[in-house]
């Protein structure tokens, strides 16, 4: 499967936040979207999953324009997991995960099929959250919640998985654990996965492809070798240094403010 984005533009209050974004990604590819705060990472992911309206450009899956998709088709094609979830009305992890099945159910279907429940079972096993199913969402630690948010998106069984800062609040051990899972699932389920991320080290370790945003514009797309000292210095306005070059991947660390 191939996701093609052409000339994508998004405006908030007629102020452009995403300018003519163009790129292609394939199934089985784990793509990292990086860039400074406010560079348009979240907007890009939300525009692809149709959570924000784009004012120009097109998105295609295998040549089919997304405009031709129905709501439930979109729900089966894209799943977005952002960092936010309202938790004031008490509900359990199980109840939260079950909503991910709605795009797969017919309008008149009132209860879940056994397939729906099996998917929840499988995903909760993969993300190691089976013990959490009966817990309240509001009682989870931030690390547990992040795994649950990703699990909910996976329960949707999408072709394209969009994860916004999926490991932001995790310590390095859980970060690596969660990203290992994401990488494995991307390969085993042949997903198109886009991860918005701010951690250069993690990006270098895991990315098959890197997409660098700066001020709403894509300034670089390519393999992990795209990340060079010069690019990072220019985009983030810092002084950086390459500490290791391992298998063609540059591990870059910031030294000081430019």
């Amino acid at each position: 499967m191939r996701l093609v984005v052409k000339g994508l533009r998004v405006e908030y209050d007629s102020k452009p936040v995403l300018k003519d974004a163009e790129f292609e990604v394939l199934s089985g590819e784990l793509t990292f979207v990086i860039g400074p705060n406010g560079s348009g990472k979240t907007t890009l992911l939300k525009a692809i999953s149709r959570l924000v309206r784009h004012s120009g450009g097109s998105i295609y899956i295998d040549g089919k324009d997304l405009k031709l998709y129905s709501y439930s088709e979109l729900g089966r094609a894209f799943a977005y997991a952002g960092p936010e979830v309202f938790r004031a009305i008490p509900s359990t992890v199980m109840e939260f995960l079950l909503i991910g099945r709605y795009p797969h159910q017919s309008r008149m279907q009132y209860l879940e099929s056994s397939k729906d429940v099996e998917v929840v079972e499988k995903v909760s096993h993969e993300l190691n959250i089976r013990e959490l199913l009966n817990r309240k969402l509001s009682e989870l630690s931030s690390g547990e919640l992040q795994r649950v948010l990703i699990a909910r998106a996976l329960v949707q069984e999408p072709a394209v998985l969009l994860l916004d800062e999926p490991a932001a609040f995790l310590d390095i051990r859980y970060k690596v654990e969660v990203l290992d899972i994401i990488k494995d699932l991307t390969k085993s389920r042949n997903l198109i996965t886009l991860v918005a991320n701010n951690d250069l080290h993690i990006t270098t370790l895991y990315a098959d492809k890197v997409l660098v945003l700066s001020d709403g514009r894509i300034v670089a797309v390519g393999g992990p070798e795209t990340l060079t000292k010069e690019l990072i210095e220019e985009v983030y306005k810092i002084k950086a240094e390459v500490i290791v070059n391992h298998n063609g991947r540059n591990f870059i660390i910031p030294i000081k403010h430019a």
Partner: protein
Amino acid sequence: MTALETYRHLVRRYVTSTLILAAALTSLVITSLSVGTTHLGFKEIINYMLGLEVDTLHRGLIELRMVRTLAAALTGASLGVSGVLIQGVTRNPLAEPYILGISSTALSVVSLALIMNPSLINSRFEVVMISFLGAVLGFLLTLLLSRLGSSGFSLVLAGVAVTSISSGIAHLLLYLLQSILRIPYVYLLMGSTTSVLKSDIPILASVTLCGALVAVLMSKPLNAYVYGDEYSKQLGFNPRTTLLIATTATSLLTGSAVAVVGIVGFVGLAAPHIARYLVGSDHRFSSTASALLGANLVILSDIVVRAISSVSNLGELPLGVVTGIIGAPILAYLVLRRVRE
């Protein structure tokens, strides 16, 4: 526990709770028919229900009590469903038609309409529609006022402000209206089933059924909605449509209850919370459980009202006093828990 076991447990809990609540409702209905200044035996009531021979005088009494019992049950169910819907669409567990100023504004608008055109009192359907418009107005006022703050409490505080203002207005208008209404106006301000007519029941019943049906049909959109607009949208539901349908249904349910029985507070708060405790927060389960719980709570309160008046000889207490005593501590508990978080 596996996902399948968890899911089965959810469904089983719902079925058990529904059966228990339905059984409780049946026994409360029988009790409600027997309690009053003239006490009737359960056997007589069961005979009546089975269509067997019953003393004519007693039959008349049972039929009178049946009207108030049905009114109490339907009001309770309406408020129970309203509570679930309004809590869902405001994503606020403290929301309730009375607390958010919906009930009081509906009553003010009804009293204003009656002052302008006293003959309206003869057309209950029109009164229900006017009450519905008042309910919508009350909710809009509260929403507008709550825009000034951003915490979960600002909605509740705005609601309390709207409730206070419109209760004051309703008080004044109803005081002026006393000669037309021929019933003590506290009964409308704090709810009572004494003034309900047999002909009101079909109106109340049809609104309650429609509202409950909407709640059931909107279960999935609401389940997605409570987590945030992003969840609604990507699962294929328009969050604005969900908001619009659920608030319209809430206003209609609350409006009809206010028009027929008056303001019965806190049922819309207590019922959904107990329902979620019993069956979880999935709207497919919680909305019907909350309807049953609301019906149970209001019939129980109405029984308490009549039991007290049969021994005190001081006339009947308003219904809202009893539901307030049951429901307000739940609000206090929820506020305390929220403050601690």
